[in-house]
């Protein structure tokens, strides 16, 4: 069921893969091909989202919705699913960030419903 939502996300051009991860770094599901240790990526995304949330709290910016990371050779988006779960999307540097975010925004509510 979760996999069906993830497949919609990886169908977007340039997206290599995506993972649903618990906030303690455990992979619940993943789709696609990411050229890195998924175990490490899961833990890193959880800590990255955590530190960004702490930054938001420190600056009194409210609740973090999404974290966008752009590198020379790739892009990653970490999306809050719930207080316990997050979605990590990994893409090539050529992927259209707007399309990635649009797809996540169109999918996230259904993903949330399927996980509750």
């Amino acid at each position: 069921m979760i996999g069906d939502f993830l497949k919609k996300v990886v169908n977007v051009e340039g997206i290599q893969g995506c993972l649903v991860v618990s906030r303690d770094g455990l992979i619940l599901d993943n789709v696609g091909q990411i050229d890195a240790s998924l175990t490490s990526m899961a833990a890193i995304s959880a800590t990255a989202l955590g530190s960004a949330e702490v930054m938001g709290e420190t600056m009194k910016f409210g609740t973090l919705q999404q974290q966008v990371l752009e590198f020379d050779d790739g892009k990653a988006v970490v999306q809050q699913i719930s207080s316990d779960l997050l979605l990590l999307v990994v893409a090539t540097h050529k992927a259209n960030l707007g399309m990635i975010r649009h797809t996540i925004n169109n999918t996230i509510d259904d993903l949330r419903k399927s996980l509750t």
Binding site: R23, G25, A42, T47, L49, G50, S51, E53, V54
Partner: protein
């Protein structure tokens, strides 16, 4: 060089590292321990302390031997149910850290017993778990509930 150090020093260091990791990573601090666990285990093995048990009962016995010999606690056991592993710790040498963290409202997410048990169960039996709760169970005693995933 001395071969033993005052546990107050270890508690102070563990407290400082735990509190700062929580402060920096917030809810993500728990994920740090998924990476730390295997690294701690690797370090134990480098020092000749190996854990080869293939069942929770064998792992419980090995963990007890290693923890008691190193002075980390007075008693530790792992009990398996259909859904959980319950790790009971008595005479915890890191109790001061646990209490200081709780005073700050921080769960002792870096509990070495919880993390070692979780890492060993995954590595040796293939059963992935998540820490459901770590709660006091008397003076210098804790009950760690690891939920099977």
């Amino acid at each position: 060089m001395v071969d033993k150090i005052d546990k107050r020093a270890v508690n102070a260091i563990l407290y400082g590292v735990s509190a700062s990791v929580r402060k920096l990573f917030g809810a993500g601090a728990d994920a740090v321990m998924r990476i730390a666990g295997p690294m701690v285990l690797e370090e134990f093995e480098k020092q000749g302390i190996k854990f080869e048990g293939k069942t929770s009962s064998e792992i419980s016995d090995e963990l007890k031997k290693a923890m008691l010999e190193s002075g980390m606690c007075d008693e530790i056991s792992i009990e398996e149910t259909d859904t959980h592993y319950n790790v009971n710790i008595k005479g915890c040498s890191f109790w001061e850290t646990t209490m200081s963290l709780r005073e700050l409202g921080i769960s002792p997410f870096a509990c070495p017993f919880a993390n070692l048990a979780m890492t060993l169960l995954e590595k040796n039996t293939g059963q992935v778990t998540t820490i459901e709760k770590i709660e006091p169970a008397g003076d210098a005693a804790s009950l760690v509930s690891l939920k099977k995933v």
